[in-house]
């Protein structure tokens, strides 16, 4: 409404006279240029605005004075009341709007299409996050099972290593079994008799055997002669003591069968004693020997 009553030339009316002496030197050129046209129109308004208590002509009031006059003293006029009513409405709307913007999220004032767009974006985001979650879940399951598998494989490998170690003589073994003691006072026990005894024990299911201090393994050999027996090149002397781990109920009869090892030895003036034991410890060890040429063909 004010664009049409915008009298630009009017407003510096009162200001020009008292402005010039006060702030003249500091004014920029633009400001001075703006004041210039007003000088012609404002020449009569040189009444001192410094004493507002004495305005000679009410028409020549400055804007500031009009504002002050409107503010104080309060006058209940129709104009004031109407404006107050409208401003009351404005304040109300302002406060409501500010409040609703404050205590709610930004969604409250949003329009429908914005809300739909936001909802779509949220849906998409949810979808993406769900996808990512399921992907990560899969990955985690995979990792867990694979680590379980690796652990299981390690466990089995360790067990196998132990079993093979017992067979290869690289680890000590213990378990139920028998002790076969062959005493040979007359020196007539030959290496092949001991070999027969060993084969009989193996056939009866012996799992770990030690002769005196020598661990018996697959490549064990006997050499020498009666009364001077070497096992794997190492001399052993009577009494020959076989420590055998296996099922005692199988091992003992295998040695004692008629015409078996014990009877054969006794024919040769040697004595053979078989003792069952709940716990036999086979603790003679062999160094693990890495084969020079043979390699595992698995994998």
């Amino acid at each position: 409404m004010n664009d049409e009553n915008k009298p630009v030339g009017n407003d510096p009316d009162g200001s020009a006279p008292d402005e010039r002496p006060a702030g003249g030197p500091e004014r920029g050129d633009a400001a001075r240029g703006r004041e210039l046209p007003s000088l012609q129109g404002a020449a009569p308004a040189s009444g001192a605005p410094e004493d507002p208590g004495a305005p000679q002509e009410p028409q020549q009031l400055t804007g500031r004075q009009r504002l002050a006059a409107g503010l104080w003293p309060p006058r209940v006029t129709r104009a004031q009341l109407v404006v107050a009513l409208l401003l009351f409405g404005l304040g109300l709307g302002l406060a409501i709007q500010v409040r609703s913007n404050n205590d709610d999220s930004a969604l409250r004032g949003a329009r429908q299409e914005d809300l739909v767009r936001i909802l779509d974006e949220l849906d998409n985001r949810t979808q993406r996050l769900e996808d990512e979650k399921s992907r990560l879940d899969d990955q985690r399951t995979e990792l867990e099972t694979s680590s379980d598998q690796a652990e299981e494989a390690r466990k089995q490998t360790r067990e196998k290593e132990q079993q093979l170690g017992v067979l290869a003589g690289t680890v000590a073994a213990q378990g139920p079994g028998i002790t076969l003691t062959i005493d040979d006072p007359s020196g007539t026990v030959s290496p092949d008799m001991l070999l027969d005894a060993l084969q009989e024990l193996r056939a009866a299911g012996a799992e770990a055997i030690q002769v005196n201090d020598v661990r018996v393994v697959a490549r064990t050999y006997f050499s020498g002669g009666g009364g001077d027996v070497q096992v794997d090149g190492k001399a052993v002397t009577a009494p020959y003591s076989f420590k055998v781990i296996g099922k005692p109920q199988d091992l003992e009869p295998a040695l004692n069968i008629p015409g078996g090892v014990v009877q054969t030895l006794e024919k040769e003036q040697a004595t053979a004693t078989v003792t069952r034991a709940e716990k036999i410890i086979v603790d003679a060890l062999r160094p693990a020997k890495r084969p020079d040429y043979a390699r595992s063909s698995s994998r």
């Binding site: 004010n2 804007g63 409208l86 404005l90 304040g91 709307g93 302002l94 004032g109 299409e113």
Partner: protein
């Protein structure tokens, strides 16, 4: 003075009572507030210019509000509500600034 009191009372009542705005009016309230602000600044400037007429102020205030709300309503119906709201706010902002400049020249003489 009474007018300023009216504004203050309006703000206080709005903050304290927290009235529920009907959903139909809600999208137009911000625009209406901006339009009313423009009218108020125009009226203040007219008063400083010494050409204030209460009838003109009332009519301009109400018509500003109604026209602004109408424009936004129309924009919503046409599907360009957001853009039109922005346009209306820009226009009112420019007018408020020019009016504020005039008021400033009156009050601060600069």
């Amino acid at each position: 003075m009474i007018a300023v009191l009216g504004l203050v009372v309006g703000v206080v009542v709005g903050l304290l009572v927290r009235p529920e705005v009907p959903a139909v009016v809600e999208p137009y309230l911000p625009i209406a507030v901006v339009a009313a602000l423009d009218a108020v600044f125009g009226g203040l400037r007219a008063m400083l210019d010494g050409i204030f007429v209460d009838k003109v102020f009332v009519v301009s205030f109400l018509s500003n509000v109604v026209v602004a709300a109408l424009i936004v309503f129309l924009g919503d119906k046409l599907g360009v509500g957001a853009q039109l709201s922005t346009g209306v706010v820009v226009v009112f902002g420019i007018r408020i600034f020019s009016n504020a400049a005039a008021i400033r020249r009156h009050v601060f003489r600069a």
